[in-house]
Amino acid sequence: MDRRTFIASTIAGLAVPALVRPALAETPSLRFRDLYSRGMELAPEAAALDGSTISIAGYMAPPLKPEVGFFVLTKLPMATCPFCNDASDWPTDLVVAYAADPIDVVRFSTLIMVEGRFETGFKTDADTGFVSFLRLMDVTYSRA
C-alpha cells in the first residue's frame, strides 16, 4: 500500500496505545506526555528510541496549505493551523510527521495512530525552512 494512503481503519474498536489497556503491537509506542521529562528536556525513554520505528497517537493539525508532504501531530485537537496563531500559542510538544508523498488530510479532531522512524534534535527543513525538534519520517497513519 502506498505510504501516503490514509488507511481508513474499519476496526472501529482499535484504539490508540496511549489509551488502550493492553499493549497492541510490537512497534514501540510513545505517548505525547512521555516525550519530555520537563519543559523541552527529552525524556530518556524517548531519546532511547531515536532512529527506531515507533507509533504515537495524536491529531493532525490543519495543514498550512494543501499538497504538502508533512503534517503536524498534536496531543489535543487544534481547530486551526498552529502556525496561523501567535507563536506563543503554539503547543510546545509538536511532532512533525513527514510522508513520502503529499498527505491525505484527516479532520483535525480525528484521533490517528502514526507510525514512522523517530528522529530527535533540531533540524531545518530544506524546502520550507521549518524548524522541528521531534520528527517521524516515512509515516503511515490510520484512524485510531
Binding site: 474499519t10 520537563r38 485537537p77 484521533l111
Partner: protein, 512 residues
C-alpha cells in the same frame, strides 16, 4: 406589649409540653444514617448567623466555565483520587462557603455568554455585550467611537481610589477576558496586544489590553498581578526567557515589562517558580508575575513546565500576604482560567483537575484570612455543554464508562459533551456494530470504547455535534459565599448582583 408577651409565653409553653409527645413517636427512619446525617446538617443550618459587619477584604474566585456539573464531577473526582467516597465528598468551597445562589449569566445581547461581559458584570455591576470588557450596554462591539461613553468603573478601580490594596491572579493570560475586567475597558476582548488591535477596522483611539494594564493609574496600582500572557508584554524582537525559540508578540516596540519595572521601583517582576518563591512579601510592594508566554499550564501538566510555575493556591496565598499589609483592606480576584479551556478541548480530566486546584486555592485563602471580616465569593462566569449521564453505580470512576451499552451496542462514558472535538465525523468508513450485536442494533460511527482507558488524562469525551471548540452553555451557574453580607447570596439572582453585594460588604462603589 403585655398581651404580646403573654401570647409568646403561651406559645413557648405549648411547645415545651408538646416536645416530649413528639419524642415518643420516633419515626422508623430516625436511626437511618442518612436521616441522622441530615439532622446534623439541619442543626448547622439553624445555627447559621448572618454576618452584617463591614468587610475588610473581598476575594472573588472565578472558575471560568465551572458549570454545576463540573463542580459535581470534580467533587467525585477529588474524593475518588483520595480514596474516599466521591459522591458524598465536598470541595472546599461547598463546606466553607455556606450561602449559595444561582446566577443568571445571559448578557445584553446573548442567551449564552462569553467571559468578557460576565466578568464585567461581576466587577462593575452592569450587564453588557458579548466580546466587550469594562463597558456598558451603550458600547458597540469593535467600534472604538463608543468606548468613551460606555466605559464603566470596576470595583478594583474604586478600591484603589479609596486606598485599598488590589490584586488579580489568573492561570489564563492576564490580558484574557476575566482578569482584564478588573482593569481594562475595550470594545473587543481580542485586542490583547497591539497586533490584535491593529486588525480592528474601527480600533482607532483604542488601547490594547496589555498596555492598559501597565498604564493603569488608579491609586498606587495593583499590588499583585500574577498570571500568564508574557508575550503580550514583550516586543517581537525579544526572545522569550523560557522558550528561546519564541518571541514576544508586540510590534510597537514597547517593552511593557520594562515599563512596569520603571513605574514601580519598589516592585518585583518574576516569571518562574524560583523567582516567585524568592519574593519577600514584607518588602515587595508591587509584584508582577508572568509565568507563560500564553496561558499558564493546566494543573495536570504543571509539574513538567520548563521553568516551573506556582499553583493557583500558591499564587493566592502570596497575594494575600502582600495585600494584607494594607490596613484598610483589599480586593482580590483569583481566576481558575483553564477549566474553560479544557472543556473547550472536550477534555474533562483536565477541567476537573483545574477545578480541584481552585478548591485548594479557596481553602488556602480561607486559612490565610480572618473569615469573619473577609467576604469570599466563588462562582463561574458561564456554563459549558458538559453533563453527567447514564446510571453508573456508586463508586464508579467518574471518568469511566457509565455501565450499560447504548443502542448501538457500544459503551459510553458518564461524562460527555453536547458538542465539541469529541464528535465522530463520517469520513467514508462504514458504520459497524460490535461483534455479537443484535440485528436491530443501531449503526453509528462513534468509536467503540470497550478497550479504551477513558480515565486517561488525554482522553476526549465523546460529543454529539462536531465543533472544533466545545461551546459555552446558557444554564445558570452557582455562587458560593461566606463572610460579611454573604447571606445576600440566595435564590436565583442576576450575575451583576455579585458586584453590588461585594460593594455593599466593603462599603464602596455606590453601596446602599
Amino acid at each position: 406589649m403585655i398581651r404580646l408577651a403573654r401570647v409568646l409565653v403561651s406559645t413557648v409553653s405549648t411547645l415545651a409540653l408538646a416536645a416530649p409527645a413528639l419524642a415518643q413517636t420516633a419515626l422508623p427512619q430516625a436511626s437511618d444514617s442518612y436521616f441522622v446525617s441530615a439532622q446534623e446538617q439541619l442543626a448547622a443550618l439553624v445555627a447559621q448567623q448572618p454576618n452584617t459587619g463591614k468587610a475588610r477584604n473581598v476575594i472573588l474566585f472565578v472558575g471560568d466555565g465551572m458549570s454545576i456539573p463540573t463542580i459535581t464531577a470534580a467533587r467525585i473526582f477529588e474524593g475518588q483520587e483520595r480514596g474516599v467516597d466521591g459522591e458524598s465528598n465536598s470541595l472546599s468551597f461547598e463546606t466553607l462557603l455556606p450561602y449559595v445562589a444561582l446566577s443568571k449569566t445571559y448578557t445584553r445581547d446573548s442567551q449564552v455568554a462569553d467571559s468578557a461581559p460576565t466578568a464585567t458584570a461581576m466587577t462593575t455591576g452592569v450587564k453588557s455585550l458579548n466580546g466587550t470588557i469594562g463597558v456598558s450596554q451603550l458600547a458597540v462591539l469593535d467600534d472604538c467611537s463608543t468606548l468613551a461613553a460606555s466605559s464603566v468603573k470596576s470595583i478594583f478601580e474604586i478600591a484603589e481610589e479609596a486606598g485599598l490594596a488590589t490584586g488579580v491572579v489568573s492561570t489564563a493570560r492576564i490580558t484574557h477576558a476575566t482578569p482584564a475586567a478588573t482593569y481594562a475597558h475595550t470594545v473587543e476582548r481580542d485586542w490583547e496586544n497591539d497586533m490584535g488591535l491593529a486588525k480592528g477596522e474601527k480600533s482607532t483611539g483604542c488601547t490594547d489590553i496589555a498596555t492598559q494594564l501597565v498604564d493603569w493609574s488608579f491609586g498606587d496600582g495593583f499590588e499583585v498581578i500574577l498570571g500568564g500572557g508574557r508575550s503580550n508584554f514583550m516586543t517581537a524582537e525579544t526572545a522569550d526567557p523560557e522558550y528561546p525559540e519564541k518571541t514576544g508578540a508586540r510590534k510597537d516596540g514597547h517593552d511593557l515589562i520594562g515599563e512596569w519595572q520603571a513605574k514601580y521601583n519598589d516592585g518585583a517582576y518574576v516569571w518562574n517558580q524560583e523567582q516567585f518563591d524568592a519574593v519577600d512579601t514584607a518588602t515587595t510592594k508591587h509584584l508582577f508575575g508572568l509565568f507563560e508566554g500564553s496561558h499558564m499550564q493546566y494543573e495536570a501538566d504543571r509539574a513538567k513546565d520548563a521553568a516551573g510555575e506556582p499553583s493557583l493556591a500558591e499564587m493566592t496565598v502570596k497575594s494575600i500576604e502582600m495585600l494584607s499589609q494594607n490596613k484598610d483592606g483589599f480586593v482580590l480576584m483569583v481566576e481558575a482560567g483553564r477549566i474553560d479551556h479544557a472543556h473547550h478541548a472536550g477534555n474533562a480530566a483536565r477541567a476537573l483537575m483545574d477545578t480541584v486546584a481552585l478548591s485548594e486555592a479557596v481553602k488556602a485563602a480561607y486559612d490565610a484570612v480572618n473569615p469573619e471580616e473577609t467576604l469570599i465569593v466563588v462562582t463561574a462566569d458561564h456554563s459549558h455543554v458538559f453533563s453527567i449521564a447514564g446510571y453508573p453505580v456508586r463508586g464508579n470512576p467518574i471518568l469511566g464508562l457509565a455501565g450499560d451499552n447504548a443502542d448501538d451496542g457500544k459503551p459510553y462514558t458518564t461524562l460527555g459533551y453536547l458538542n465539541g472535538p469529541g464528535a465522530a465525523v463520517y469520513e467514508g468508513e462504514a458504520p459497524v456494530a460490535p461483534e455479537g450485536s443484535d440485528a436491530d442494533t443501531a449503526l453509528t460511527i462513534r468509536a467503540d470504547l470497550t478497550n479504551v482507558d477513558t480515565t486517561d488524562v488525554d482522553f476526549l469525551q465523546q460529543a454529539l455535534i462536531p465543533m472544533g471548540s466545545e461551546s459555552h452553555a446558557g444554564d445558570d451557574v452557582a455562587i458560593f459565599a461566606q463572610g460579611p453580607w454573604a447571606h445576600l447570596f440566595h435564590g436565583v439572582v442576576e450575575q451583576n448582583i455579585i458586584y453590588h453585594v461585594m460593594a455593599k460588604a466593603i462599603g464602596l462603589g455606590g453601596a446602599k
